[in-house]
Symmetry: D2
Subunit: 348 residues, 4 copies
């Protein structure tokens, strides 16, 4: 507008900075990229290499010192704050016979997927939920939970949480229960006994549209599902026989921010490639194989964990001619769908 | 009304009648009653008494003559058109070894609950669904279905349909398939193998928010659910351990107009009394007992069917000290809820 | 099965009848028709012919005698019980200056659409809602309502109710308030003042997902909407500029069983023909025209009411080259959609 | 930890770090805080101070150089990447007569709220949407939009976007249209003419459950709403007469990640204090007042913008005895609700 001959332009930049603003034109390309720029990189965590160190820390560090004894699986691209992929975190937790992990709750949603050991349980809002390898246990946001191990050997599991998302949204709360362990207030394992058996819903229980009421999706049920579906079902071109753990009151994901899944890649499965905005963490329950990621190859074996960031093209391959691969996974796809930003592209 | 001698009042009444109207004030109390007036009455159909006649008709009448060989369970208060309770119909169907019931479809939603016999199957939209006693098979509205019996003895089942509702809403269509039987186009029993096993949903299948995709809820799964829930679950004061068969994609009823349920009344169960606007048909899977209905007592035994009309106070009792009662039931409660007219009153 | 030589077959028919059953094969074609059989017929009610009789009854019959002074528009095909089309009822009500219609409530959902007169109001759950010609007033199920006329001339309106549906579902309750008129407990006309103005929702009001919170959709707003949309909007091939009155908390129909609508047929509008399972009642707000119904022609003029039963092919025509037709209508389409039985067929 | 002299503990820490992990116990308190730690601080941007600089840049920098000529309102606590509060961004944009801002689209959802000027329009997916002061224009995610100014003076508006959220979720895409301006393909301003007038929904338009179909919520309508609601409506204890701009097809927010609102604080309004996890940006449409924030006081005047981060207690005050305050605001509350993490606390 005005012709301001005396005052040099640089003053304006300083002036508007002092007024709490910045010129968008200096940031535009950075803020509006042609496609998403992921912080995370594709990565494999080797379980067998980590295991001895887990055992070491189990001996060296008490749960009283550690609150939870966990190695965080930190993506090389997401170290500060630590995360595994966008929105999601994975860790390997270990607890020894006789130990207890004290009761607390947090707004972050969490699950654990049991890798090895028996004889432990988690008390969730007053219900003791026992765990065996392959079980998926839920502790949705703001549910009290503590762990107790009455078995013999070390107990190890995969922890999955959405705290990177919850913290990014500045909605994280945390609280200690006030005593180390919750008393049992409901029959043991009642939540999954009431729901997990099939498609019959107890009508005396008030539906929870937000979180699944199921404390444990036992591996025996997961195996049974895979057997039931059999070899003649179609499956997905990308993920094989891909099943989602569901909230029985909605048919949707178990928690609003995390979809948990199990996939069976049949012998020789050579998946089609695709990419999507959502990010995924995989845990190899059994078998071994590889995932081709934008030209690179991730080799993975039993019990390993691997990360596929969003908008990275990927293809899963089970190279074995005889053995299934079973992949547990979890993803922030429900977040992308709820906010209208999920996008997928078929690459084959 | 007033006596008007010059222009007599009767003229106006005649005149408005000729114009297609009627005075509301002559009908008001009839149209707006203090509480619902049910056409149906509480009633028990005795299976053992009906059975020999079913067998007779099976011998005397071919399926070519009968389209479907069914005795309709007609409520004494709802004979024209025949119905079992408001909105709902029940019938007992029989099919003999080697017979086929030709393929047709209708907008009425239907299920069958198998009472006796083995070796038959229903083809539903190209999928063969095998049936055994206690199985619940769905044929949602406008799904092709035909029956075939390859077993030995007679096969008998309970048919449940909503044609009284569909016809009352003038939305009923019917169509013959054009050939007697549908070809099998999908793997046998694939729909329940993919879904019924637990709470894992196949992600390669497009969700159907209207009807359950499950062709059969087998009795083996129902028994397993009841065993899983066990003796320490609360259950409902009115109906004991009352479970609803659900659509895995919504957690809601299997079809939009019919909720199918199974209840376990533990030995000595003495239910609380209540009433609700929805109507219910019960089928006694095992055990015997009685239902107190507004002072009257309905005694029922194994395989019987009984009807509890809407807004009738009722209380279920299992008089046995040792045996469970298992009651399959179905109700139009989803209709009342969808339309905002469900009402319930606790009487104890 | 068994060879029963002595007992004649006729005994079996009698026997099963005595056991509360009927052979389906004797009813099959009647119960499962190829297409819906409507009770209602297409019909026009002539307002100008009815009006003098309405005035007569207004003088001859007090509201104390009549509860509500209404001529029911009874479809010639639906006289017992009286209804206008499937699920729905229409009536013309008259109230005189100084009269009150006493407070009551019923589970049937109701609206009134004002035809002539000014100065009356309805009190709905404690809010006085004033009425002027063209206004649409709601009294959803179980809302207290009474009428009071403080103006000069007679006040006449169209009543629309779903009692045929509610009674068919045996869910009808009725209650008197206990005193003739409700006290005013909220500011006059507050519900529409808070909502009707546009697309801004008051956040201090708890959403009602079942019924619209709006007491009155005033004609001034409806006219404004039609003017705003203008001549360059597409409109529907079948119904012209067809607008649905909505619940501001859902965007859906004002009540779960009734969709209320206003249509503008531009001069010369010659609609395409279609048919659908839902039934419709029309009220001609202004203009005149005709509807072709399966070969027959219904001629209608200002203030008339006409009925189009379900699954009847129909086409609306505005024969005028200069004047709009404005058609208010209401339909049970939400019921058909909620229950998964809505079907539509394009005939042009 | 234990002192292990032979195999020193530090080896294990190094070893697990090399394996891509970190001990959770070294991060626990940082990751799980008792309450959210906000990056943003409460802050006021002074419009009158910024305005001359905006005018300067308008003269000094062409739109060809700038893509968009905007000063970002960067929260002192959120400079890298720049954001205004958690999830949300605000900027002040200026465009001069005769200028065009070229057509592009992005997955970030955006709106503009016009501050001053007339004669410009935005073309959104082929529809020209004209703007006047107080208008709220939407450009939901992935909608093409370009700006054109045919008026006389400078045109300035507030831009609101969710790119901080979209980028944090790594779901951001950006695309140029390929030519500078979109051709007009629909009647001008048709989207708001069809919807904004009140509560009537065009039935020929396919509902969009994700984004509002309305291009512009004009100020004339907002004023009308405030006048319609009047002085006798309750309003909220915290925010006065607080109205949400809605999607007419759902009654929910205009876009899945942003709720836009207008509030009227009556003369002398002294709001109650509360806090919630969601974050809010306010723009003062008229009047002046202050917001008490955890002891601090933010003074704001007409056209200023101010930020209230999540979980910060706040209370709004209109100190004037005669004049209303009108506050436009937007918030990420829909995100918190969709993900089940919304929490609110009443402080008075």
């Amino acid at each position: 507008m005005s012709a301001e001959t005396v005052t040099p332009a640089v003053d304006h930049y300083e002036a508007v900075k002092a007024l709490g603003t910045s010129p968008l034109w200096q940031y535009f390309g950075e803020l509006f990229a042609e496609a998403p720029k992921n912080q995370a990189v594709p990565y494999v965590w080797n379980y067998q290499a980590l295991r001895p160190h887990m055992l070491h820390f189990a001996g060296a560090l008490s749960l009283e010192e550690a609150e939870r004894r966990v190695l965080m699986l930190v993506n090389p691209g997401m170290t500060e704050p630590p995360a595994t992929v966008n929105s999601l975190y994975a860790g390997i937790q270990i607890i020894l016979p006789g130990e207890t992990a004290q009761a607390h709750r947090h707004t972050a949603n969490a699950f654990r997927f049991i890798i090895e050991g028996e004889g432990a349980y988690t008390t969730v809002n007053g219900e003791r939920v026992h765990m065996r390898p392959g079980d998926l246990l839920l502790t949705p946001g703001w549910h009290w939970h503590d762990h107790y191990h009455e078995g013999d050997g070390p107990m190890m599991w995969l922890d999955g949480l959405d705290y990177p998302l919850i913290n990014a949204l500045e909605a994280g709360f945390f609280q200690l229960y006030g005593q180390r362990s919750q008393p049992a207030e409901r029959p043991d394992d009642i939540s999954h006994r009431q729901f997990i058996h099939g498609r019959l819903n107890p009508l005396w229980i008030q539906p929870d549209p937000v979180n699944s009421p199921i404390g444990n999706y036992p591996w025996t049920e997961t195996e049974r599902a895979l057997a039931s579906i059999g070899d003649d079902a179609d499956g997905s071109r990308y993920d094989g026989v891909l099943l989602e753990y569901t909230n029985p009151h909605t048919g949707g994901p178990v928690m609003p921010t995390i979809s948990c899944r199990i996939a069976r890649l049949r012998p020789g499965f050579n998946g089609a490639a695709h990419r999507h905005t959502s990010s995924t963490v995989y845990h190899v329950v059994s078998g071994s194989g590889r995932t081709e990621v934008d030209g690179e190859v991730l080799e993975w074996g039993e019990k390993d964990v691997f990360a596929i960031p969003g908008w990275v093209g990927h293809r899963h391959i089970n190279g074995s001619r005889s053995d299934d691969v079973l992949l547990m996974s979890y993803t922030n796809e429900p977040v992308h769908r709820a906010l209208g930003i999920y996008r997928e592209e078929h690459l084959d």
